[in-house]
């Protein structure tokens, strides 16, 4: 993979330890990525799929796999 010339930086406010907070409040940390894909890879790895997707999908696939309810059974259930 090609690496761009300049590094990408992500500046975020970083909470310091309690001791440091007492002394100097908050500090800045710099997270560096050597390329766009490295940044996106990091972003993708930090991403979590909401549990709701799996729950819905389990229900949907179970419904699909289940044989259709016969019309005559529906009829007799009134």
């Amino acid at each position: 993979m090609d690496i761009p010339h300049k590094k990408l930086e992500q500046r975020t406010e970083n909470e310091t330890t309690q001791e440091q907070q007492q002394q100097s409040g908050q500090q800045q940390t710099v997270r560096q990525f050597s390329s766009a894909e490295e940044m996106l890879q990091h972003d993708a790895e930090q991403t979590t799929v909401p549990d709701a997707v799996e729950i819905r999908l389990k229900r949907s696939t179970t419904d699909l796999a289940r044989p259709a309810f016969p019309w005559w059974k529906r009829w007799f259930r009134g």
Binding site: T12, L40, A44, Q46, P50, K58, T61, L64, A65, R77
Partner: protein, 190 residues
């Protein structure tokens, strides 16, 4: 992931227990292995966590329906990505999303891409995610897709070429320009 453990009233009034297991073990394994990459692609292509959630469900449901037709000519990963790309493209086209301004609430992002345990990590991830999304939204569609595909470490140039219908050399050339464009826009987004 914890199984669903609540009941739900069905249409006919009877109580149905939500399925706690996959109806197909094979499909469950596919979901476990690829759901993160597919959700990430949908999230960054659609720029909206709620839409990405729906899209991921629909993509995997399409995959489930067509599992019998999957002959193994391509890898499962490539097969899923193809379904995902087509699905997201169709959504974007039908909504004319690219001409609209994304106005997703900031709170969405804090929940969408945060797997960190500490508040610090959540803050970092949310901030990074927002800037990445802002940058991707400004890229041409082709560059955005190429960068999102190359973000999957398991996808090679040949597979990306197959998915985007071009040669590996063309992918390399366009990725070079895509990286430059991304880097420039990302720095401007600060």
């Amino acid at each position: 992931m914890a199984p669903a453990a609540y009941d739900e009233k069905s249409v006919d009034g009877t109580t149905q227990e939500k399925p706690a297991t996959w109806s197909s073990r094979e499909f469950g394994e596919i979901y476990e292995e690829y759901s993160r990459q597919i959700y990430y692609l949908a999230l960054r292509m659609l720029s909206d966590p709620a839409q990405a959630e729906d899209a991921t469900h629909d993509i995997f449901l399409k995959a489930f329906r067509s599992m019998q037709q999957f002959r193994g000519d391509s890898a499962v990963r490539t097969w899923l990505y193809r379904i995902a790309i087509n699905h997201c493209r169709n959504l974007i086209q039908s909504w004319h999303r690219r001409t609209m301004v994304t106005n997703v609430d900031d709170a969405f992002w804090e929940h969408s891409s945060a797997s960190a345990d500490t508040p610090l990590q959540i803050m970092e991830t949310a901030e990074l995610g927002k800037r990445i999304q802002k940058t991707l939204d400004r890229l041409p569609d082709e560059y955005r897709l190429l960068l999102l595909l190359v973000a999957d470490r398991q996808l090679g140039y040949d597979q990306i070429a197959e998915l985007t219908g071009q040669t590996s050399d063309a992918v390399r050339g366009k990725l070079y320009r895509a990286r430059k464009a991304f880097a420039e826009l990302f720095r401007k987004s600060e």
